[in-house]
């Protein structure tokens, strides 16, 4: 039944139609970013195209609307990369301790991680902002990076994965004289490539598209991330939809490319997380 070729062609047509509906908003975004300004948001496929929206962005806008679009892109890169890197390192370290080391207090730390992970984080927003302000980090990269330097979810995922690695690998390395750091770097992490990809992609995506936190801890124009700048321009400057679509493309395309580069490992890694 399912195997009949007619049914199969039908299934592919449905699958393709569904996929088209799902990626349509992206297509709409790209088309409108290249549309002539009088064509933006007028029809599904604009009738004339131009690069004016991108020129507008790269020259920083016109008529006193100059905003640091290019700089904000690099701010996003700096903040997302640094934050994600720290979350990966701290996640792997803590998880290694929880999964593969024996020490007093381990169960306590493990329970604390789980408790904090399921604790509604909204309660922490205002006081965390005040901490950042009080230590003089307001309006800096550190304000965006340090409070997001550890991900409980990353600790949780790594811990589960590390636990599945047989202890014999670790014991034999230990007998060969390897210390814990060497075991983590040379044995455990190389065995965890696919889960590392999954964790990296989810963390980076989330960091890249963060709005609320990056919006409240930064004030200066030149410190804004691209996502926050786009959000700011969205409201009051509705008269420039073309450039906003172009900025959306610039915000979205890098993350899609990054995802597609790791798509194969991502799929393998997801298989573990879904078991």
């Amino acid at each position: 039944m399912v195997g009949s070729s007619k049914g199969l062609v039908f299934r592919y047509i449905i699958a393709f139609a569904l996929l088209s509906v799902m990626v349509f908003p992206y297509l709409y975004m790209v088309l409108n970013s290249f549309a002539s300004w009088d064509q933006v948001d007028k029809s599904i496929i604009p009738s004339s195209f131009s690069f004016r929206s991108y020129e507008w962005l790269f020259t920083g806008g016109e008529g006193g609307m100059s905003r640091p679009w290019i700089r904000s892109f690099f701010n996003s890169v700096i903040v997302s990369s640094a934050s994600t890197a720290l979350m990966m390192v701290s996640g792997a370290m803590v998880a290694f301790a929880l999964a593969k080391m024996k020490f007093k207090g381990r169960d306590f730390i493990n329970n604390a991680v789980l408790f904090q992970m399921f604790f509604p984080a909204i309660i922490l927003l205002i006081p965390t902002f005040l901490i950042v302000q009080n230590v003089g980090m307001y309006d800096s990269y550190l304000a965006m990076i340090l409070p997001k330097a550890l991900s409980l979810w990353a600790v949780f995922m790594y811990t589960n994965f590390f636990r599945a690695i047989p202890d014999t690998f670790i014991e034999s390395a230990r007998l060969d004289g390897a210390n814990n750091l060497q075991i983590l770097l040379k044995i455990v992490l190389p065995m965890s490539k696919s889960i590392t990809t999954v964790i990296f992609l989810f963390l980076f995506m989330e960091r890249w598209t963060e709005l609320l936190w990056d919006m409240i801890v930064v004030r200066s124009d030149h410190m804004l991330t691209l996502n926050v700048l786009l959000s700011q321009m969205f409201g009051p400057y509705g008269g420039y939809p073309g450039p906003l679509y172009a900025a959306s493309v610039i915000l979205t395309v890098p993350i899609i490319i990054l995802f597609l580069c790791f798509a194969k490992q991502f799929k393998e890694g997801m298989q573990f997380t879904l078991k």
Binding site: M22, I44, F103, I122, I123, L212
Partner: protein, 293 residues
């Protein structure tokens, strides 16, 4: 001997969490309870202790009351939307002999969109002169002000977030489908089971663990809506899309009522925590009663 040596290094490896847990969890947690008992406005050097006045004011505030109900209304719209759409995607994709992975990756792409970007696109698609609205007006005589009527604004925001999560949940459900033993279907076919019976009596129970995961995840998402609402409606019209996040953000960073906003945040956390645990229990009981778990 061995155990002793591991001891210190264990704490050393766990130290990032210890620092983080103290600085970004314990201290803010205590601080938020302290703040909630004051009338501090984020700027003034002096403030007073007002005991539970903030909490009393909060529960009587229309914005807070709206946030409580909007979360559940939002859940009522978003959860069915995203479950049905991801179920459809998983149903269509899981039986494909080729390119299944490629399709799943394609469906996952919306997850990568920033809420700001998806809001921008939807605002464009629903603007007065957009082709959708022109067609609706000219062919059907429908003039819908999508983001300015309470029900449609809520549904639009729910749909944007459903769009984002469909591919992710479809991935989970597809893995669930793949875990089902094909022989059961063959046996059912021999017994002459109808397609509807097959879905409700075989597929659904065996899919329940994956479905449970997506349900819990999507319910969790319902409690954390901010970007789309901030971008499209600002919580309006008339609090129809005023989520907890939106209310807390407005009180703390627009009106600068840090003390009061902390009280709202504590209420929001308690409501979220209790609601999620209760819903979980109900789902588990429901699964058990039907013999699915």
């Amino acid at each position: 001997m061995m155990k002793k040596r591991f001891n210190g290094t264990g704490w050393l490896f766990a130290s990032p969490y210890l620092f983080y847990g103290v600085i970004f969890f314990i201290i803010p947690l205590i601080w938020s309870f302290y703040l909630a008992l004051t009338d501090w406005n984020l700027i003034a050097p002096v403030y007073e202790f007002i005991a539970f006045d903030n909490f009393i004011e909060a529960v009587q505030n229309p914005g807070v009351q709206a946030a409580f109900f909007v979360t559940f209304k939002f859940m009522g719209a978003f959860v069915p939307m995203v479950i049905v759409s991801s179920l459809i995607v998983a149903l269509v994709v899981h039986g494909l002999p080729r390119f299944k992975g490629l399709f799943l990756i394609g469906f996952f792409l919306p997850y990568l969109a920033s809420g700001v970007v998806s809001s921008l696109i939807v605002k464009g698609l629903l603007s007065y002169n957009s082709s959708i609205n022109v067609v609706l007006r000219e062919s059907f005589g429908l003039d819908i002000d999508w983001l300015n009527s309470p029900l449609s604004a809520l549904l639009v925001v729910a749909a944007i977030i459903a769009w984002k999560f469909t591919g992710y949940y479809a991935l989970i459900l597809t893995a669930g489908f793949e875990g089902i033993n094909k022989e059961i279907y063959e046996a059912a076919a021999i017994d002459g089971v109808s397609a509807a019976q097959r879905f409700f009596r075989i597929t659904l129970p065996l899919l329940y663990p994956a479905l449970f995961t997506t349900l819990i995840l999507s319910i969790g998402v319902s409690f954390g809506i901010f970007t789309e609402v901030y971008q499209l409606t600002g919580g309006g019209p008339n609090y129809a899309t005023n989520t907890w996040q939106m209310e807390i953000f407005n009180q703390a960073f627009t009106n600068l009522n840090a003390g009061y906003a902390s009280a709202v945040a504590i209420i929001a956390s308690i409501v979220t925590f209790v609601a999620i645990i209760m819903i979980r229990k109900i789902l588990e009981a429901w699964g058990k009663r039907n013999g699915w778990v």
